[in-house]
């Protein structure tokens, strides 16, 4: 089982769009995939038409009594299940602290899933907190969607040095450009000549595309209704690139 966390300190950069589409493509590749919607806003759950609610709320997740598996819902797609969000996830930080050993917690929670799933995708909420730390410890690969702007690059640098400082050697950082608008000169410049940041940026980028915005109306992964559009093809290429990279980990 390989755990991908889709993460950025910044909000609205395409984390959920990436998680949903990557999870779908991974499942299409024959892997059994679980996507965990960790954002109390429940956007990923919404895209799969699954109620963002779990019995017992966030506290129930950490009480050691109920198996994680019991919260899992099947999606409408082969090989792809979802662990829904719950509004109470906004308190996960506190709850982790209370439950003790917060940093190793997620790894422990995920462990029993290895029997049933080949791939886990964590759709993280923005921000940096105890929860993110626990996720960094549980994940094998950190996918970091980055909008090609100066400020976003600065944030990316922060994440890279955070990894260094906290000696998270196991964690592979995979930043890539997201919501790229080629009409903008700055976007073009940064994508064509990315500054060196200490972690190589993926060759594939995700363009700004109305088909992706439409996911909110369609409530489906983009490749199910617009697989051959530019953005759909970009996701396919990106997933293949990520797969190759993470296999050579």
């Amino acid at each position: 089982m390989i755990v991908y966390a889709c993460y950025n300190i910044k909000g609205g950069v395409g984390k959920t769009a990436t998680s949903v589409n990557m999870a779908y493509l991974a499942a299409q590749g024959g892997a059994r995939v679980l996507i965990w919607d960790l954002d109390p806003q429940g956007a990923a759950s919404f895209y799969f038409r699954i109620k963002p609610k779990i019995k017992g709320k966030a506290a129930g997740l950490l009480d050691n009594k109920t198996r994680l598996e019991t919260y899992i819902r099947g999606t409408d797609y082969d090989n792809l299940d979802l662990l829904p969000a719950d509004f109470s996830y906004r308190n996960l930080d506190l709850l982790l602290e209370e439950a003790g050993k917060p940093r190793g917690r997620f790894k422990k929670l995920l462990k029993p899933l290895a029997q049933d799933y080949d791939v886990v995708v964590l759709d993280c909420a923005p921000g940096i907190s105890l929860l993110s730390e626990s996720i960094f410890n549980a994940a094998d690969v950190l996918l970091i969607p980055t909008i090609p702007t100066i400020l976003s690059l600065r944030t990316l640098k922060q994440i890279i040095s955070y990894r260094e400082k906290h000696s998270l050697k196991h964690l592979m950082l995979v930043p890539f450009f997201s919501m790229v608008d080629k009409r903008k000169q700055l976007h073009r410049q940064i994508v064509e000549q990315p500054p060196s940041l200490g972690a190589p940026i993926l060759g594939t980028y995700i363009p700004y595309a109305s088909e992706i915005e439409r996911m909110g109306i369609e409530r489906r992964p983009v490749n199910t209704y617009a697989g051959s559009c530019i953005a759909g093809r970009a996701y396919i290429r990106m997933w293949q690139e990520i797969l190759r990279l993470s296999m050579t980990r």
Partner: protein, 529 residues
């Protein structure tokens, strides 16, 4: 209820009517009717089935889906959309599928073991967000027979709840229970089909299965073994001819070799004059099948050959592969001709008749009437001691011919033990077999290197004669031969250790107590060991 439930429906129930009834009662959505055919795939020797795995390709107008799951567990399956039904694991694009199948199937091909055809009527339970909660399938599947006819499996309804949504399935099940008579199927479709066909899966195995009893006469026991070997040849013959995968020819050749080995040790047990003629003919079988097998071996090793060379040299080896593939084609043709020749038909016909005719015994000596256990003890002990003796005399500078001789003796011993393993308690011969296998691996690999180096040199000449050898390819082959020579020398160093492990004093004592007491157990040897 989080599990798939399959119920068999009484034959008089009309699927359409029941479907409409459920649809209106539970406001279900109609999701159309699809014609599908499900092809259950496994290797000739049912490797997946033995590992409790189930693999099938579901073909419909929408394409082909490959489905992999554990037997009896329809809830967690892996699904992959594919273009065509795969033959080898390497044909499957999905890394996850390959990872699961490759360790089980290895080099064996997938063959269609069973084909089910069906029209699936599908209903869906969806919620207000149009999210599917339950799939309901109605089917009246039929099993396609090889003669173009069919057998019906029986009408059925299948409830497939989406993980985490149990209620709709529970409600419908309750309704069905109240209004209809049905029974739970609770068995994989593959097993239902095999039962109908009266096929016992996993029956064929490269390992021979028969029952020997210690008081069988030698001739009786030998015939039993030899018949089983003939059966193995016959079972593998079609796969050899169709070149489905390389294991058919491999198993076929092992059966031929074992037959020869058994014949060579059956003097005075079976009539000598006939034995001699059959020996000659099975020797011929060996030469008919040998060259094709050699090509199989080199092609199987080809990836390893490439990997043994520096990366920039590897492409230069590709012409060798192409040459081998073409040569394999020619050798295969020759092999097929051999297997379809009247000489082969005459041989197998006469052989079967010979084995089926017990009265020939009267022609031979009293040995043939001795209990097999006594002879087996004696023969195994004799060959075992030969192995020990030959192995002890091998020094670091002994010529290859001595290792070769020891290899042959080990093989003889291995076959003997396998022939007669029924006669001995498994626990007692296990460690002997294991240390023997290890020794054989070293000797076999050593010999393989020797053969490969000679063969590569030979093939290089052939390519050169056919003006198909570039300088780069010639150099790559030379380099490969050097690598093989080095590996061969390394292996030679391992010989001493593995022989010592085989010939440990305490093992020898153990072997002697199992086989080494001729005279004891003469009367049927029932109490022996």
């Amino acid at each position: 209820m989080n599990k798939v439930v399959e119920l068999s429906l009484p034959q008089n129930i009309r699927i359409d009517e029941l479907g409409n009834e459920l649809a209106s009662h539970f406001s279900l959505e109609h999701d159309g009717i699809t014609s599908v055919s499900r092809t259950y795939l496994d290797s000739f020797d049912w490797r997946l089935y033995r590992k409790r795995l189930l693999l099938f390709a579901e073909t419909s107008s929408e394409g082909v889906r490959l489905i992999l799951r554990s037997q009896g567990q329809p809830d967690t399956q892996r699904v992959l959309n594919i273009d065509s039904i795969p033959v080898f694991t390497s044909d499957i694009s999905s890394f996850v599928f390959r990872n699961r199948l490759e360790p089980v199937l290895r080099i064996r091909a997938l063959i269609p073991q069973l084909v089910i055809q069906s029209r699936v009527k599908c209903l869906l339970a969806v919620d207000a967000d149009n999210k599917t909660l339950l799939y309901i399938q109605f089917e009246n599947p039929r099993l396609a027979l090889s003669n173009g006819q069919y057998r019906m499996l029986g009408k059925r309804i299948r409830l497939i709840p989406v993980k985490g949504y149990t209620r709709p399935a529970e409600q419908i099940l309750r309704y069905l229970k109240k209004n209809y008579k049905f029974s739970l199927i609770g068995k994989d479709e593959l097993d239902q089909g095999l039962e109908l066909l009266n096929v016992e899966p996993a029956k064929y195995s490269a390992k021979l299965k028969y029952r020997l009893k210690p008081d069988m006469t030698a001739s009786e026991a030998l015939r039993t073994i030899l018949l089983k070997l003939l059966e193995a040849m016959k079972l593998n013959e079609p796969g050899v001819i169709d070149d489905i995968d390389t294991e058919f020819l491999h198993d076929f050749r092992v059966a031929v070799r074992k037959t020869r080995s058994a014949l060579s040790q059956s003097r005075h047990i079976l009539p000598d004059s006939e034995v001699e003629a059959f020996m000659r003919e099975f020797g011929w079988m060996g030469t008919v099948t040998g060259p094709a097998r050699d090509m199989h071996v080199y092609l199987l090793k080809f990836n390893g050959y490439q990997a043994a060379l520096p990366e920039d040299i590897r492409p230069a080896l590709v012409p060798l592969r192409e040459f081998l593939v073409r040569k394999k084609g020619k050798e295969h043709e020759r092999l097929v001709k051999g297997l379809q020749s009247s000489r082969y038909k005459k041989l197998t016909g006469a052989w079967r008749q010979f084995l089926d005719t017990p009265q020939t015994e009267t022609k031979s000596s009293a040995i043939s009437k001795k209990p097999i256990k006594e002879l087996a003890d004696k023969q195994i002990w004799k060959v075992y001691r030969r192995v020990i003796h030959e192995g002890r005399n091998i020094r670091a500078d002994s010529p290859d011919t001595e290792l070769h001789r020891l290899r042959i003796s080990c093989k003889k011993l291995r076959y003997l033990i396998e022939f007669f393993e029924d006669l001995y308690p498994r626990s007692r011969i296990r460690s002997l077999l294991e240390s023997l296998k290890q020794l054989q691996d070293v000797l076999g690999d050593y010999h393989d290197y020797y053969i490969q180096i000679i063969a590569l040199d030979h093939i290089k000449k052939q390519m050169s004669d056919a003006a198909e050898l570039s300088i780069e390819t010639g150099e790559a082959i030379d380099m490969l031969m050097d690598v093989l020579r080095t590996e061969q020398q390394d292996l030679r160093k391992q010989f001493k250790g593995s022989f010592r492990a085989f010939a440990l004093k305490k093992n020898q004592a153990n072997i002697e107590s199992i086989f080494g007491q001729p005279g004891k157990g003469k009367k049927g040897g029932k109490g022996a060991a």
